[in-house]
Structures are given as structure tokens and as C-alpha cells.
């Protein structure tokens, strides 16, 4: 039993397939756990970054009290939410009220099965990858709708109705934009197309172009349509009519409190990361570093593999600057020490990444080289996703909320015709170019 488990553990190392395709359930489980923990940590970080960035957009400081620069604020928030009383309204539909947050959470986390962090850094590579992602992420709205209905109260119900109408409208434009990107995988001398997430990125690698720039400006337009629709899909500002706090108190989750409410928040951020990952995979070359065909070879590979270390080094530098600039009053002694330790931790991670980059610089089949490659893939993928996550915050700070009739008008009369036109033009151009 033990030896066979160890055997299952080691035999996967060096496999070019994702664990789901290699048939290795142990590693699939490990990947699932890594992704689950990683997403939870990223959501905590996003919580802090969003509050800080929004505050700075509005010329405020944001959280400053809990930890240096409010770094421990998300942990304090999480503790508060867990300790809060869990209220279920008397007139609520208890079972549905209880299940609703879980629906959203499960739908948001299930799509991570097919997100390709690298050519083998995914839980599984499905033949229908992108279809699966769109389908399961569209189930997330069921969580919102059931939550709004089960609360048995007016504001949540209106929020749920708005949300379901919005999702159905924007899914159409989103789907058509995705189809035009899928068309691109099959055109232009590559033979057959694919729906697999890994296959889509590999198609971009083979064709030597991100689909964002393919058939300029068709790819760009499809990308913009998707980028707008994905904000609407995740119910984020300026499309956050389902939880419009100036009109509906808190919309669909008005009656939720404590841990259940935090599940909604977790699901929302997980869904944001997931849709950003779709956009990155379809149009921005997924795990590929910039210009993978022009800047290849061992020297460039080595330079690009230094970036993860440099990123953590820069973060460590910021932490060091923060430590130095901390007021030298005895009140700040603990905060200062804490920030210094945090800086050391970041510097240690940076050092570790540099060591891996140097050890694995020879592109051979050694463990270090494979590890270095894996870190590179995940790093470039996450960097692109991070840009989208920042954009989500930027939108929220910049634009006022849509009115509902404007929302419907934009969805059906602007985005749907444009995405349909782009789809037809992509097909025509594809046929004539190849």
C-alpha cells in the first residue's frame, strides 16, 4: 500500500500530461488541493489590494490599523465573519437559503479543473475545456438567484431577478466572442481546431500570434466584447445591479451574514479569477511568456525565468522601504518588526526562485529544469490574470453603475450584433486567408 502510493507519487514526475489525462488520481488530488489553497490565499490578498487601491483612488489611506499598512486586515475580517452570528430569517426557505452560497462556491471552484496554468500544470485537459468552463461558470448565477428568492424579502428578490436577466443577456455575447476565438484555432495552416484549453494556447504558440492580434482588429474586438461581458457575468461594478447598494441595500445577499456571506464573497472572487483565466487563455497566450517565438533559446529562457524572483524581490524591497519609513515611535515597534519579518520572508522566496532558475537553467529533463519551467508557466499565467484583477478594481473605482434599461440596451443592441458580426467576419477572413 505504502510503496504503491509512493510509486504513484513518483511515477508522475516528468510526465508531459496533466494528472487527469495521465490517469494519476493522487497528483490530481494534490493539484486540486494546491489550487484550492492558492485561490483562498489570492482572495485574501485581493481583499486587501481592493480596499487599498480603492482608497488610494479616492485619496484615502484605506485600512492602516491592523498590521503595518493594514496587511493583516483580511485575516481580521475573516475572523470577524467566522465569529459573527449566523442569522437565518424566520420566513426564509431554510434549505434553499442554506444551499444557495454553496451552489455559487462549487460552480466557481469547479471551473478550476480545466484552467491551464501550464502545458501540464492543470488538473485535467478536457476535450471540451472551454465549453465546460462556460457551462459551469454560468451555473454560478443559480446561487445568486436561489439566495435572493430564499431570503423571502423584497430587495434580495429584485436583486436575484436583475441578476438572472443580466446573466442570460450577457452570456450570449460572451459565447459568440468565445466562438470567434475558437474559430481562430482551426484556421491558418494548423489543421483542425480544438475546444481544449491547453490546445487553444498551443494553437496560439504554433501560429506565432496571440489571438488578441489575429486578423486585426477582429480578435481585438472579440476580446473587448468578452472583457465587458465577463464583468457583467461576475456581477462586478459597473454591472453590479444585483447588489446595487444605493438601491437594494445589498441586493441578493441582504439577509446573509457571517460565514455564509463570506462564502458569497469567496465565490465572487473565485469567479473573477476564473473568467480572467478564460480571457488570458483565449486571447493573451495563456502561459506563454511575451514573444515566445522570437525570444527563445536558452539565453532568453534564462532571462525570462528570472522574472518570478525579480517580482518577489521587488515586493521585498517595498516591504523594506515600508519598514524603514515606519515612524520611530515605540507604539510602532511590533508593527515594524512584523513588516521586517514579512520583508525577509518575501526576500527568502525571491532567493529560492532565483536558485531554482539557476539550477534549472539547462533545458534537460532533470527535476530542477522541469520545476523551473513549471514556475515560469504559472508565473506568466498568473501575471496576466493579475492584470485583469487590477482592471476589475479600476473599473469599480472609475465608472458609475449602469441603469437597468441601459444594461439591457448595451447587452442586446450593441454587444450582441457586434459579436455576431465579428464571428461572421472571422469565419470569412479565416477561409480566405488560409
Amino acid at each position: 500500500m505504502l510503496t504503491s502510493t509512493i510509486n504513484a507519487f513518483t511515477s508522475y514526475l516528468g510526465s508531459p500530461l496533466p494528472p487527469g489525462n495521465a490517469g494519476n488520481q493522487l497528483w490530481a488530488l494534490i493539484y486540486v488541493l494546491i489550487i484550492f489553497a492558492g485561490v483562498a490565499v489570492v482572495v485574501l490578498c485581493m481583499n486587501w489590494i481592493e480596499r487599498k487601491a480603492l482608497a488610494h483612488f479616492q485619496i484615502r489611506l484605506g485600512p492602516m490599523r491592523v498590521g503595518p499598512h493594514g496587511l493583516l486586515q483580511p485575516i481580521a475580517d475573516a475572523l470577524k465573519l467566522m465569529l459573527k452570528e449566523d442569522i437565518i430569517p424566520d420566513e426564509a426557505d431554510k434549505l434553499v437559503f442554506w444551499v444557495a452560497p454553496l451552489i455559487g462556491l462549487v460552480a466557481a471552484f469547479t471551473v478550476y479543473t480545466v484552467i491551464p496554468f501550464g502545458p501540464s500544470q492543470a488538473v485535467s485537459d478536457m476535450n471540451i475545456g472551454i465549453l465546460f468552463m462556460l457551462g459551469v461558470s454560468s451555473l454560478g448565477v443559480l446561487g445568486i438567484v436561489t439566495a435572493g428568492w430564499a431570503s423571502n424579502s423584497h430587495y434580495p428578490l429584485i436583486g436575484a431577478l436583475r441578476s438572472s436577466a443580466q446573466m442570460v443577456s450577457y452570456e450570449v455575447a460572451m459565447g459568440l466572442a468565445v466562438v470567434s476565438a475558437i474559430l481562430m484555432t482551426s484556421l491558418n495552416r494548423t489543421g483542425t481546431g480544438t475546444l481544449s484549453m491547453i490546445g487553444i494556447v498551443q494553437a496560439q504558440q504554433q501560429q506565432g500570434i496571440w489571438f488578441l492580434f489575429k486578423f486585426f482588429p477582429l480578435g481585438l474586438i472579440a476580446f473587448v466584447i468578452f472583457a465587458i461581458a465577463m464583468v457583467a457575468e461576475t456581477n462586478r461594478s459597473p454591472f453590479d445591479l444585483a447588489e446595487a447598494e444605493s438601491e437594494l441595500t445589498a441586493g441578493f445577499h441582504t439577509e446573509y451574514s457571517g460565514l455564509r456571506w463570506s462564502l458569497f464573497m469567496l465565490a465572487e472572487y473565485a469567479a473573477m479569477i476564473a473568467v480572467s483565466a478564460i480571457a488570458v487563455t483565449l486571447w493573451l497566450g495563456g502561459w506563454l511568456h511575451p514573444f515566445p517565438n522570437a525570444l527563445n533559446g536558452p539565453a532568453w529562457e534564462f532571462i525570462f525565468s528570472l522574472f518570478p524572483g525579480l517580482t518577489f524581490g521587488a515586493l521585498a524591497l517595498f516591504a523594506v522601504i515600508g519598514t524603514v519609513r515606519m515612524p520611530s515611535h515605540s507604539f510602532f515597534r511590533i508593527q515594524r518588526a512584523g513588516l521586517a519579518v514579512f520583508a525577509l520572508l518575501l526576500a527568502f522566496i525571491a532567493l529560492l526562485l532565483f536558485v531554482i532558475a539557476i539550477l534549472g537553467r539547462n533545458p534537460d529533463a532533470s527535476i530542477a529544469a522541469r520545476f523551473r519551467e513549471g514556475i515560469d508557466y504559472v508565473y506568466w499565467f498568473m501575471l496576466k490574470v493579475a492584470i485583469f484583477m487590477y482592471l476589475f478594481i479600476w473599473y469599480r473605482a472609475t465608472w458609475p453603475r449602469y441603469r437597468f434599461d441601459q444594461l439591457m440596451k448595451v447587452g442586446w443592441k450593441v454587444m450582441l450584433p457586434i459579436s455576431l458580426g465579428v464571428l461572421i467576419l472571422t469565419a470569412i477572413v479565416g477561409v480566405f486567408v488560409s
Partner: protein, 202 residues
């Protein structure tokens, strides 16, 4: 459907235990076990019963979603991932959200006091029993038509095969191209009809 047809692993009860540990990279080996089939089938049947027995329409709709998802799981077991994906997108994600949208506008208090079944339910029971008997006899009589184990379908090219059947390969029309186009024309007419009926002035 006879479970033995669907699941070749039924003949090897040890396979499920072995699959967890067995690390031999053999992507063709079926991971879906009988237990998946029994679980999904039970979920589909139980939630299907809940759809017609719940008084609350929203509960019925939610049960229907569970049924549809279980059926999608069964499609996955039959090596038809594309059909499963479409089932989730179209039914569970699209149509059921619209269903819920409409049901929420209905006054559930009043509806739940109304009588749920009308008086002809014995007729319905009889009809469904007859249908069940028909299915059973079809399975019994046509046993020789079924293979004793499942054909290993190429899962990796499932989507491409469906596309070839619907649209045809290069230079030749697919088997179902004509029927597919007629169906899409019919849907277009239905959409236009719905728009015209709701709009008083175009």
C-alpha cells in the same frame, strides 16, 4: 439502461480500488466505475420524483436542475463530453435560469394551496407503467443487439466527430447537414414569431 452495458469495470470489482493507486499512464482505462452510474442514476430518478411531488415550484425547478446535471454526468460516462457540456450550458445554465426567473414572478403562496394533481392521475400511472413495460420488453427481447461490453469510443475526438456528422468533412456534405439546417431554420422562425407576438409595433 442496463448498467452492465455501460460499465465494463463491472466485471472487475477490484478496478476502482486499483484505479486510485495504479499510476500506469493509460488514458484509455475507464475511470468511471459502476458506483458513478448508480449514484448519478439514483440522483436523476430521486430528483425527478421531487420535481413532480414538491408543492413549491422553485423547489421543483431546483430538483429539475439536479436531474439535468445528473444526466449530463451520465453522458460523460458514455464518452460523450460534448453532449454533456451542451446539456449543462443550454439546460442547466440557460433554460433553468429563465424558468426560475418566471417562477419567481408567480405568487407561490396562492399556487401552493391549489390541488397538485388532477383526477386523471391513475391514467397517467397506467400509461407510465405501460411505457416501462415496453422498455423492459425491448431490453429483454433485443438483448442480442447490445454488445456485452461498452465500445471504447475515442473520447478525444468526440467534438470533431459530431462536427463531421453535422457539417461534413471538406468537400462533402455531412450525414445530418440538411436536417440540422432545417432545424435551425425552424428555430429562427420561432424566435421571430416570439418577437413579433410581443412587439405591438415593429
Amino acid at each position: 439502461m442496463n448498467p452492465a452495458l455501460v460499465i465494463p469495470a463491472l466485471a472487475h470489482p477490484s478496478r476502482m480500488a486499483a484505479a486510485f493507486i495504479d499510476s500506469a499512464p493509460n488514458p484509455a482505462a475507464p475511470i468511471a466505475t459502476p458506483w458513478f452510474f448508480y449514484g448519478l442514476a439514483a440522483a436523476a430518478v430521486i430528483s425527478g420524483l421531487l420535481v413532480i411531488t414538491r408543492r413549491n415550484a422553485v423547489h421543483s425547478a431546483l430538483s429539475l436542475i439536479v436531474t439535468l446535471l445528473s444526466v449530463a454526468g451520465l453522458y460523460l460516462m458514455l464518452y460523450a463530453p460534448f453532449v454533456a457540456g451542451v446539456q449543462i450550458i443550454v439546460y442547466a445554465g440557460g433554460i433553468m435560469v429563465l424558468f426560475l426567473f418566471v417562477i419567481m414572478l408567480v405568487n407561490i403562496e396562492r399556487v401552493s394551496k391549489e390541488r397538485q394533481f388532477n383526477r386523471i392521475w391513475p391514467v397517467g400511472l397506467l400509461a407510465s407503467c405501460a411505457l416501462l413495460a415496453l422498455f423492459m420488453s425491448a431490453i429483454q427481447k433485443g438483448k442480442s443487439l447490445f454488445l456485452d461490453r461498452m465500445v471504447q469510443l475515442p473520447e478525444g475526438t468526440n467534438t470533431q466527430q459530431i462536427a463531421a456528422a453535422l457539417y461534413g468533412e471538406t468537400g462533402k456534405m455531412g450525414q445530418y447537414t440538411f436536417a440540422f439546417e432545417i432545424a435551425s431554420l425552424l428555430l429562427l422562425v420561432a424566435i421571430l414569431g416570439a418577437v413579433i407576438m410581443t412587439k405591438k409595433k415593429i
